[in-house]
Amino acid sequence: MEKTRNFHDKLIVSSAPHIVTDSDTTKVMGTVLLALLPAFVAGVYVFGGRVVLLAIACVISAVGFEWLYNLITHKEQTIGDLSAAVTGLLIAFNVPASLPIWMGVLGSFVAIVVVKQLYGGIGKNFVNPAITARIFLFISFSAQMTTWPLPRTAASADAVTGPTPLNLLAGGETSKLPSNMEMFLGFIGGSVGEVSALALLIGGIFLIWRKVISPIIPAAFLGTVFVIAFLNYGFSLHMAIFHLCAGGAMLGAFFMATDYVTTPKLPMGKLIFGIGCGVITMAIRIWGSYPEGVSFSILLMNICTPLINRLTYKYYCGGGKDEK
């Protein structure tokens, strides 16, 4: 047999390990997109075909802005990691179905260019792009951002828009509140992707099962909302469940307060983050001038994240004993 040999200096010499996991950022973001699917379907069902248009516009513009930014600044293309697509879809989820398309596109611009790319792109932004875009739109176009199309179950000839359950609560019209079952299923007014607690719960549990997110933040966030509502309304289980299903609590807790980049690194930090989100959300809902506080709570806790990290770092754990 002829000897094949002397592959001297033709071999790749790299540092160990020489095998890596199959998972990559694209797969992580793809899983998040998949987890958002039930809520998307619920949104389309509740508010109709315009949701599809809005979602496509937001996703395409978010990806497009990232592509363009990278092109102009001569950076390596990063749109393949799907994170811009996730941001775009989350923007669509966070606005009313009736929002003018160009406003959604503007939201994508703020999220991708201002919040994400100018700070260095994926992994470098210090606040959640979709949340910040929502708040930007909310402050800039308060009329369009608070005009809520009625769900198909409530739509009639003489009315196409109406208040969200939290609007009703803030206005003191508690007798008009939908039932908790309607709240849970999502036959209520609100942003495109936040109405169906059931659909979001399915997506959230899927992410936890796939080990994409840790359950700590959603559990702490929603747990805090539940407890504060329960206590605030005189031990009312009904109102506690109402607040869990109302507004953006589920969407925020599972999909936005769990963003890796803008939330604390370690379990103890995540716990503090989640509780903080719950407290701020309920403080705004109960005492604030806005009916809803989820986005502000996440944004504020994003800003606190470096501090929370500093307070909760663990330096070495050789098996049970943690060294500070």
């Binding site: 592959f7 071999l11 792109g121 370690l266 770092y313 060294e323």
Partner: protein
């Protein structure tokens, strides 16, 4: 016994493709290159000259340094050359190149050691040339003569073999179970140890069954097999100590300081064999696997056999090799040449073709902290990488970078394919450098 608590670990694909195949003895190659740097201690000085005739088991290299182990010829033949060689460890080693005569004439130096005292025992262990065969290459006689010997009561034998692909230890436990027990008995007797554990991952039922059978047959009441989870890196020394005893072993601490003597299972078995035959460590069971080799199998190869010759015995290259790893895929070293010889600590040769050899492109960190969750010691590789980039020694120390044992779990698990294990190693180098100043 199981203390029931586990350190964080990861699931890696096992790829134990060669587990069921009996080890085959390869023919003696025309040439072997025996390295003088086969232990973690001082390199040996050649004791032979160009033109000398050497025999199997003859000592051809030794050193006066405290931490060192002699090197023996694995073949009979003529010393053709003594040359420097750029080795897989990065530095330059001295190689004794021997042209074999295929006679395998055994040296007169080879005789069964006579043991009348503990000193005799340690001298014999040193004379065997034994080093940690799991990869660390720490001279075994140093490990077996700790200062606090009277405080040591436990022997842990490391048969975890948690690296993917490698099955050499597994095959050894199946084929040479008696040698393992002989080694265990000798060590426990001379070091007066009370209890012995042989830690094996539960994905090696044949090895566990064989050793259990032999333990029962011999009526050993103070030795038992210890089933480990089939997860990575249960075979890392500090992890194994924790899994078996629950004792936390910090970096820089020797097992003996915790009252434990810990050795690799092949080291122990080779010692058992040495005390029976007197033949020092001259051949090694090596797993040859990877997508660019025709016939993956376990091979008995003389130490110093070149990779190309071993691959020839395994049916040759299936495709052009692009990366050759000496050791496991998680911690092994990529060598630059298939002329590199196998060393005492080489447990496997992985021959990777084009696709498997490619280093995956690195993307931005997304702060998912999987690196932290994967770390057996809960370290934060992401922070090490950031701090290393800024050359921030204080921060590296604050986050205990020196506790990293380089298992590679962080790099493996990273969805952004960041070479975290490499940065950890560079960061440790930086800290060591700073400490010198």
């Amino acid at each position: 016994m199981s203390q029931g608590k586990h350190l964080p670990s990861i699931l890696v694909p096992h790829h134990k493709n060669t587990a069921g195949r009996e080890t085959e003895v390869m023919p003696i190659p025309d040439v072997v290159r025996i390295s003088m740097s086969q232990s973690i201690g001082a390199p040996c000085k050649p004791l032979v000259q160009k033109g000398d005739y050497v025999k199997v088991g003859q000592k051809i290299g030794d050193s006066d340094a405290f931490i060192s182990a002699p090197v023996h010829s694995s073949v009979s033949g003529t010393v053709k050359d003594i040359v420097p060689f750029r080795g897989s460890m990065g530095g330059t080693e001295t190689h004794i190149v021997i042209e074999t005569d295929k006679e395998q004439a055994v040296s007169e130096e080879v005789k069964i050691p006579e043991i009348n005292s503990f000193d005799d025992f340690i001298k014999a262990v040193r004379a065997s040339g034994m080093v940690g065969l799991g990869g660390a290459s720490f001279p075994t006689y140093v490990k077996l003569s700790p200062k606090n010997l009277d405080e040591c009561d436990t022997l842990i034998v490391n048969g975890a073999e948690c690296e993917p692909f490698i099955t050499a230890d597994n095959r050894m436990m199946v084929e040479q179970g008696q040698d393992v027990l002989d080694g265990v008995k000798i060590i426990m007797e001379h070091l007066d140890l009370k209890k012995g554990y042989i830690g094996i991952e539960e994905n090696k039922p044949d090895a566990i069954a064989n050793l259990n059978r032999l333990i029962e047959q011999e009526g050993l009441t103070n030795v038992e097999t210890f089933k480990l989870q089939s997860r990575y890196p249960k075979g890392a020394e500090r992890v194994l100590v924790y899994e078996v005893t629950g004792k936390v072993m910090d970096a820089g601490v020797l097992p003996a300081q915790l009252g434990i003597i810990l050795d690799n299972v092949t080291t122990v078995a080779e010692l058992g064999r040495y005390f029976r035959t007197g033949m020092p460590l001259v051949r090694k069971r090596v797993t040859v696997d990877g997508d660019a080799v025709n016939d993956p199998k376990n091979v008995f190869a003389p130490i110093g056999a070149q990779i190309a010759d071993i691959v020839d015995f395994c049916g040759g290259y299936k495709a052009e090799p692009k990366k050759i790893v000496m050791g496991g895929p998680m911690m092994g070293r990529a060598t630059n040449s298939d002329e590199s010889p196998i060393m005492k600590n080489t447990g496997s040769l992985l021959i990777f073709g084009q696709e498997a050899a490619q280093v995956k492109e690195e993307t931005a960190c997304i702060n998912c902290q999987r690196c932290h969750s994967a770390c057996p010691f809960g370290l934060m590789p992401q922070i090490f990488a950031e701090a290393y980039e800024r050359r921030d020694v204080d921060r590296l120390n604050k986050f205990r970078v020196m506790q990293c044992m380089g298992c590679g779990s962080c790099s493996f698990i990273c969805p952004a394919r960041r070479p975290l294990a490499m940065t950890n190693t560079l960061a440790k180098g930086l800290v060591k450098e700073a400490m010198k100043k």
